[in-house]
C-alpha cells in the first residue's frame, strides 16, 4: 500500500496498465509535453513516447471517433477530455458510434473516456458540469465515478480492461483533496459494485463522487447513525446494495453534485419506491445541484452546489421525520 492523492491514484492506474499492456495508450489535448491540464499524465511522454501519449488537436469528435477505430482494431485507448464539459463536442461519436456498436454489430469497443468533472472553483458554466446523466440515457455506455483514491485506481484499471466504452468521471475537487492508502501494482475494483462507506442504522445517504465526502462529513458532524453508500458505478447500478441499505434503515437521501431532474437521484428514488416501499419510514429525498447552469461567482456557485450545511440539514430533516 502507498498513500496517494486521488489524482496520483489515477496516474498510477494509467501507468501500471500502460506498463502491463502495450495496447493501452492515452490520447487527448495537452497530455504529452504538458502532462495534461491537471497533470494526470505528467512524465508519461518520457516513459511511453509520443505515440502512446498522443497529443491531439482540439477536436473531441476526432479523439472519440479515432479511439473507436483504434479499439476495434485491438488497442485500448484512454481518452482524456480536458474538462468533462467538452464531451459535448465529441458526443456524437460517443453516443451514436461507440455506445451502439456492440448492440448493432457485435463489435466490442474497449475504450475509456476520462472526464474531469465537478465544480466548486469558479470554473463557470463550461468547466464545472457533472454530465453523467447524459451518458446514463445512452444504453451501451458504462459509467463510473470514484470517490476515493483506492477506487480511483481500481475503477480506472477495471474500466481499461472492460470490453465496453466506459465513461470515467473524475471529480476535480477530489484530485488533491482526497488522499488514501492505495494498493501498489495491479488493482481493480469491479464495475457495478457499490461500497458501504459508513455503516449506520437510522438513515441512508446514497451518494457518489464528491457527495460521498459531504455525506461522511455530515454524518460525523451530526454524530448520528447514518449509513453512507458510495455507488462508485452508476451503470451498471448496484441495485442490491441500494435496496439492502434502504430496507435496513427505512430512510433514504440520494445526494449528488449533478443537477436534479432526471438524474441518478431520480433513478435511485424510483427504484427504492418500487422495490422497498413497504420498508420505508419516510419519503425518499434528494440533495443535488439546482437545475441551473453552474454560475461563476463564488456566492452564486455555492448557492447552486450542495454544501456541507445543506447535507447536514437534509440528514437532520430525514432523521426527524
Amino acid at each position: 500500500m502507498a498513500e496517494m492523492t486521488y489524482l496520483e491514484a489515477i496516474s498510477d492506474a494509467l501507468r501500471t496498465e500502460m506498463r502491463r499492456d502495450e495496447t493501452v495508450f492515452c490520447m487527448g489535448e495537452d497530455i504529452g509535453a504538458f502532462g495534461g491540464a491537471f497533470k494526470v499524465t505528467d512524465g508519461f511522454l518520457e516513459e511511453f513516447g509520443a505515440e502512446r501519449v498522443l497529443d491531439t488537436p482540439l477536436a473531441e469528435n476526432a479523439i472519440i471517433g479515432c479511439a473507436v477505430g483504434a479499439a476495434v482494431e485491438g488497442l485500448r485507448p484512454v481518452c482524456e477530455m480536458q474538462f468533462a464539459d467538452f464531451i459535448a463536442c465529441g458526443f456524437d461519436q460517443l453516443v451514436n458510434v461507440a455506445a451502439k456498436l456492440h448492440y448493432r454489430q457485435g463489435v466490442a469497443a474497449p475504450m475509456v473516456v476520462r472526464l474531469p468533472s465537478g465544480g466548486g472553483f469558479s470554473g463557470g458554466p463550461f468547466h464545472s458540469q457533472n454530465p453523467e446523466a447524459w451518458f446514463l440515457q445512452t444504453p451501451g455506455l458504462k459509467v463510473v465515478a470514484p470517490a476515493t483514491a483506492d477506487d480511483a485506481k481500481g475503477l480506472l484499471t477495471a474500466a481499461i480492461r472492460d470490453p465496453n466504452p466506459v465513461c470515467y468521471l473524475e471529480h476535480k475537487g477530489l484530485y488533491r483533496y482526497v488522499k488514501g492508502e492505495v494498493p501498489e501494482g495491479e488493482h481493480t475494483v469491479e464495475l457495478g459494485r457499490a461500497r458501504i462507506a459508513r455503516e449506520g442504522e437510522e438513515m441512508t445517504v446514497i451518494a457518489y463522487g464528491s457527495a460521498v465526502h459531504l455525506a461522511l462529513d455530515a454524518a460525523e458532524a451530526l454524530d448520528e447513525s447514518i449509513e453512507v453508500i458510495d455507488l462508485r458505478s452508476l451503470c451498471p447500478l448496484d441495485t442490491e446494495a441500494i435496496l439492502a441499505s434502504a430496507r435496513k434503515t427505512g430512510k433514504v437521501l440520494v445526494a449528488h453534485e449533478a443537477t436534479q431532474s432526471c438524474g441518478v437521484g431520480a433513478e435511485v428514488a424510483a427504484l427504492v419506491a418500487a422495490e422497498a416501499f413497504e420498508d420505508l419510514d419516510a419519503p425518499v429525498r434528494r440533495l443535488t445541484a439546482a437545475d441551473v447552469p453552474i454560475p461563476f461567482s463564488p456566492p452564486l456557485e455555492q448557492a447552486v452546489l450542495p454544501q456541507l450545511e445543506d447535507m447536514k440539514e437534509a440528514c437532520d430533516e430525514l432523521l426527524k421525520y
Partner: protein, 368 residues
C-alpha cells in the same frame, strides 16, 4: 450454385497498349475485369431485387440504393488486401460484396431477418460484417471517416502495412467531423483512403449550396493529395484507389479520391427526385457505369457479347437464389431485443475477401 460471390480464379495479365489508357491496365488480369463487372452487376441486381421486396411490403422503413454509383465501391474496395479494413456507407453495397458478403445476408438485413449481419438490430446498409473486417456505418455523416482514421492509427502504431478505407458523399464534407478527420489523418500521415462520392446532391441539395470550394481541392490544405476521377469508370476508380492504398502502405499517408458521379435514384424510395433537372438525368443515364464497362470490355479487351451477357445473367440468377435464402430467414426472436447492449469479451475483426489477382500473385506484384 457456382459463383457464390467468390472471385473467379486469376489468370495472367493480358496488358495491351490500349489497356494503359487510365493506368489500370497492367494491374488487372482478364479475370479481374470479369470480377469488376460481376460485382457491379451483383450490386445492381441485389438492389433491384431489394426495391421489389420493398414494394412488396417485405422491407420495413424506406429503401436506399446506390444505382449509378456501382463503379465507385467496387473499383475502390477491389484494391484491398485481406487484412485491410473498411467502413462502408449506404451507396456502397458493391464493397460489401467484394469483401465477401453474400447478397442473401444483405437482403435479410433489409427485411429485418435474423440472418442479416445485424440480426435485425439495424436496417438497410447500416451494417458491417465484423468477420469480414468491416465496421458498419451510422446515420450521422461522416462519422465513419474518424473511425477509419482510428483503425489506421492502430496500423501505424503497430507498424503494419495495412490500409483503412471509407466512403462519404460530398454532403458529408460540410460537416465539422469531416474536417476533424481530414486534419487528424493529415497530421499523423495515417494509412487511410478516403473515397468521396460526389453524386450531385445531398438528398435534394445541389453542389452549389453545399460548398464554395470543391472538397478535392481542400485535400492539399490538410497535407495530402486529392485526386479527381470519373466515378462511373470502374478502372479509373480502381487505379486511383490502388495508388492511394499503395501510398498509405508505404507510409505516405492519406489520399482523398473524389469520384464524380450521379445518384440515379432518389435519396430513398420515398424521394421522386423532382429537384433534378431532366437534362442532367438524361446525360448521366447515358453514362451508366455497368453499360460503359461492358462496352469497354467488348471494344478493348475482346470480351464477346455472349460472355458479357452470361456474366450478367449468371449474377442475376445467383441474386434470385440469394433472395429466396433471405426470404427463408426467420424474423428475430423478440427476446433478442434487449440482448447484446454490452460486450462480455472482445472478438477481433476478421479478414475480408481480397479478389484482386495481385493478392494471389496473378498480377505483377512489383506494380502494386
Amino acid at each position: 450454385m457456382k459463383p457464390v460471390n467468390g472471385a473467379v480464379a486469376s489468370e495472367p495479365a493480358r496488358g495491351g497498349t490500349s489497356e494503359r489508357r487510365n493506368g489500370a491496365g497492367e494491374h488487372l488480369t482478364r479475370s479481374d475485369r470479369v470480377n469488376l463487372l460481376r460485382y457491379m452487376a451483383m450490386m445492381r441486381s441485389a438492389e433491384e431485387r431489394g426495391i421489389t421486396l420493398y414494394r412488396q411490403g417485405k422491407i420495413p422503413g424506406s429503401f436506399y440504393d446506390g444505382c449509378g454509383q456501382e463503379a465507385i465501391s467496387v473499383g475502390s474496395a477491389y484494391v484491398l488486401g485481406p487484412r485491410d479494413r473498411m467502413c462502408i456507407l449506404h451507396r456502397d453495397l458493391g464493397a460489401h460484396f467484394v469483401r465477401g458478403l453474400t447478397p442473401d445476408r444483405y437482403l435479410a438485413n433489409y427485411m429485418g431477418r435474423s440472418d442479416g449481419p445485424t440480426r435485425g438490430k439495424d436496417g438497410n446498409l447500416h451494417f458491417g460484417d465484423r468477420e469480414l473486417g468491416c465496421v458498419g456505418m451510422v446515420s450521422m455523416l461522416p462519422d465513419m471517416a474518424l473511425v477509419a482514421s482510428g483503425m489506421a492509427l492502430a496500423f501505424k502504431q503497430r507498424g503494419e502495412r495495412r490500409v483503412a478505407m471509407t466512403y462519404f458523399g460530398e454532403g458529408s464534407t460540410a460537416n465539422g467531423q469531416w474536417h476533424e478527420a481530414m486534419n487528424f489523418a493529415g497530421i499523423h500521415g495515417l494509412p487511410v483512403v478516403f473515397v468521396l462520392e460526389n453524386n450531385g446532391f445531398a438528398y435534394s441539395t445541389p453542389n452549389e449550396l453545399e460548398f464554395a470550394v470543391d472538397p478535392v481541392e481542400r485535400a492539399a490544405t490538410y497535407g495530402f493529395p486529392g485526386v479527381l476521377v470519373d466515378g462511373n469508370d470502374v478502372e479509373a476508380v480502381f487505379e486511383a484507389s490502388r495508388v492511394g492504398a499503395e501510398r498509405a502502405r508505404e507510409g505516405g499517408g492519406p489520399t482523398l479520391i473524389e469520384c464524380r458521379t450521379m445518384r440515379m435514384h432518389g435519396h430513398g424510395a420515398h424521394d421522386d427526385m423532382s429537384y433534378v433537372p431532366e437534362a442532367m438525368r438524361t446525360e448521366w443515364a447515358d453514362r451508366d457505369p455497368i453499360e460503359l464497362y461492358s462496352a469497354r470490355l467488348a471494344a478493348e479487351h475482346s470480351f464477346s457479347a455472349d460472355e458479357i451477357d452470361s456474366i450478367r445473367s449468371e449474377v442475376k440468377t445467383y441474386v434470385d437464389e440469394c433472395a429466396k435464402t433471405a426470404l427463408a430467414s426467420p424474423m428475430p426472436d423478440p427476446a433478442e431485443a434487449t440482448a447484446g447492449v454490452f460486450a462480455d469479451d472482445v472478438t477481433p475483426l476478421g479478414d475480408g475477401q481480397a479478389p484482386w489477382s495481385y493478392w494471389s500473385g496473378g498480377a505483377e506484384r512489383s506494380a502494386a
